[in-house]
């Protein structure tokens, strides 16, 4: 089963600035105090599609306590690794189409997926969620060809975002167990040796539902913090351009400022 949770939000900032804030949101706790749980951020791929002009980016974030503590408590230490290290790798894929005025992002946890898989999808747009389809139709009727023009429409002062979280626990399912225990899975002997054996005795299904609902109940809090963080980055960008913001951060960190050649 999958539990989903969808919310809509409007930022009172133009779309290009919001996309920049998205890339900058984990840049520094000084820029976004709500990002102190993010231990690292790395880009592993970035390219512009020559046909569509869309920017495709893949990043890996290392976040502390991605797994809710209540979920960790439900699990034996053989699964959580003792519960001491609760940081989790998060894979983030994003596509920006600056000409059409939208950005789609998808983030998912890379480890602990056998216990709980969390997928966050976001759709940012210059038009409100219900108007998106009709505006896309209008564009195709007009026959706008890719790269024919840069953003020609008037710049909307607002950016609309729809966020959907999906929670799926497959704890005790055969396939997921296999993945979770891949390192200790040298023998092919079937049976209760697996987590499935441990958990099915007291209702794998019920535990899966509990894990999904505990995680889902934390969504509002997570969404609010993430929006507050985005807003702080956006405010900084409103008063200063990105280059000024970056130079100010370097100054505060006591580093020499890059030459802007």
């Amino acid at each position: 089963m999958v539990l989903t949770h969808t919310t809509n939000h409007t930022y009172s900032h133009p779309f290009p600035t919001v996309t920049l804030a998205f890339f900058l949101r984990y840049y520094s706790p000084q820029l976004n105090p709500f990002s102190s749980h993010v231990l690292s951020t790395d880009t592993i791929s970035s390219h512009v599609d020559p046909d569509t002009g869309r920017l495709h980016t893949t990043r890996i974030h290392l976040k502390r306590s991605r797994m809710p503590a209540a979920v960790v408590k439900l699990l034996p230490t053989s699964v959580t690794g003792g519960g001491g290290d609760k940081s989790s790798y998060v894979l983030e894929n994003s596509v920006v189409d600056i000409r059409e005025g939208w950005m789609k992002t998808e983030s998912q946890n890379l480890n602990f997926t056998g216990i709980l898989s969390i997928v966050e999808q976001q759709h940012y747009s210059v038009s409100p969620p219900d108007a998106t389809a009709s505006s896309a139709e209008r564009d195709s009727v007009l026959g706008t060809s890719p790269l024919a023009s840069t953003v020609a429409r008037p710049i909307s002062p607002n950016t609309f975002v729809t966020t959907t979280f999906s929670y799926r626990s497959s704890l005790g399912n055969k396939k997921q167990d296999h993945a979770a225990l891949a390192s200790t899975d040298a023998s092919d002997e079937p049976g209760p040796r697996r987590i499935g054996g441990w958990i099915s005795g007291w209702g794998a299904n019920r535990i899966q539902r509990s894990i999904e609902s505990i995680a889902s109940n934390k969504t509002d809090d997570a969404v609010n913090k993430s929006r507050d963080g985005m807003r702080m980055v956006l405010e900084r960008l409103r008063s200063n351009g990105v280059v000024a913001v970056l130079m100010e951060l370097r100054r505060r960190e006591g580093k020499s400022v890059f030459d802007q050649s």
Partner: protein, 82 residues
């Protein structure tokens, strides 16, 4: 300044990030950054050379491969249902 998961890559990562953010805000968002081959390409290559070693060491490359295979499977299931 956000760190790299591999501290030894922090320097090259910071140079790339700064370049990317500048390119993104000054070119891409203005509709002029349309190619892959830009002023940040060389910096990105240096960064990836450093990072790929760390991804392998920490087994993250395997996690990535698993995630991609899972996504493919899920997509295939969706297609079947239709």
């Amino acid at each position: 300044m956000s760190a790299s998961l591999a501290p030894e890559c922090n320097g090259v990562k910071e140079r790339y990030d700064t370049c990317f953010l500048k390119w993104y805000s000054e070119k891409y968002l203005r509709g002029t950054g349309k190619t892959d081959d830009n002023e940040c390409t060389k910096l990105f290559e240096d960064y990836q050379k450093c990072l790929s070693v760390a991804l392998k060491e920490r087994g993250i490359d395997k996690l990535l491969k698993e995630a991609r295979e899972d996504n493919k499977e899920n997509d295939a299931e969706h297609m079947k249902r239709k």
